[in-house]
Amino acid sequence: MSPASDAIDRVIRRGRAIMVAGLLGVAAVYVLSLGFTPPEASQGLAFKILYVHAPSAWAMETAFVMVGLTGALYLWLGDRRLDVFAEASATVGMVFGAILLLSGPIWGKTIWGAWWVWDPRLTFTLLLYLLFAGYFALRSALSDPVERARFGAVIGIMGTVLVPFIHLTVYLFRSQHPMPVLGRPPCPPDSPNCAPALPWVLLRPLLLSFVAFTTLYIGFVTTRYGIGLRRVEEESRDAG
C-alpha cells in the first residue's frame, strides 16, 4: 500500500471515529429531550422538534458555506483536494437539509395547521436545497474534472451568498417562522409581545444538539472526504 493510501485510510478512520462520537451525542440529545425535558407551555411536546430542526439547519448551512469557501479557494489555488472536500461537504449538507426540510413541516402541521407555507424563510431554504441539487446535476453532467470543479465552485459560492440572507429573512420580511431562540436580546420592561429567553431546562438540549450535530458534520465530511480522495487516487492510478 502506498503512503498516500495509508494517509487516506487514516482520514477515513478518523472520520468514522468522529462520526460515532456525533451519533452518540445525538442519542444523548434524544435521551435528554425525551426523558429529562418538560413540554413547552404553549406548543407542548412538538416544541422538542426544535432539537433536531435547528441544529440540522446549522449543520446544513455550515456545510454549504464550506462548499463556497473551499470552492473559492479551489478557484484561487487549483488544488483538486479542495474540490473533493467541497463535493463531500455538499453531500453532507444535503443529508442535514433533508432532516431540516422534513422536520419543519411536521412541526408546522401541528403548530401552524399546515405542512408548508410559502414563507420567505421556508421558500429560500427550499431554493438553497434545490440549488445544491443542481450542483450535483451539473457535476454529474461534466466529465472533465477541472471543468467540473470550476463550475461546481461557482455554484457553491452562489449558495454561500444565500446562507446569511436566509438567516436574515425573519428580520427582513413579514415572516411567520419563529425568531431565533439563541442570541435573542432580553425583553424591554413593558413589551407584552416580546418572547422571553428560553429557560435553562429547555435550552440545555438545544445547546447539546448543536454540539452533537457539529461533531456529526465533522465526522461525516471527514469520512466522505477520505472516500473522495480514494476515488481520485484510484482514477489517477487507472489512468496511469
Binding site: 485510510d9 472520520g15 407542548g44 433536531v52 443529508v95 433533508a98 422536520s103 411536521i106 472516500i227
Partner: protein
Amino acid sequence: MPDNGNYLTAAYIVAAVILVGYAVVLWRAGKQ
C-alpha cells in the same frame, strides 16, 4: 397544552433514520 407527541415521535424517527442510514452508507463505502 396541545397533545402532539405523535408529531415529535415522527420527527425524531425521520432524523434518526436519515443520520444512522447515512452513517452506515459512509461506513460501508469507507471499507477497502
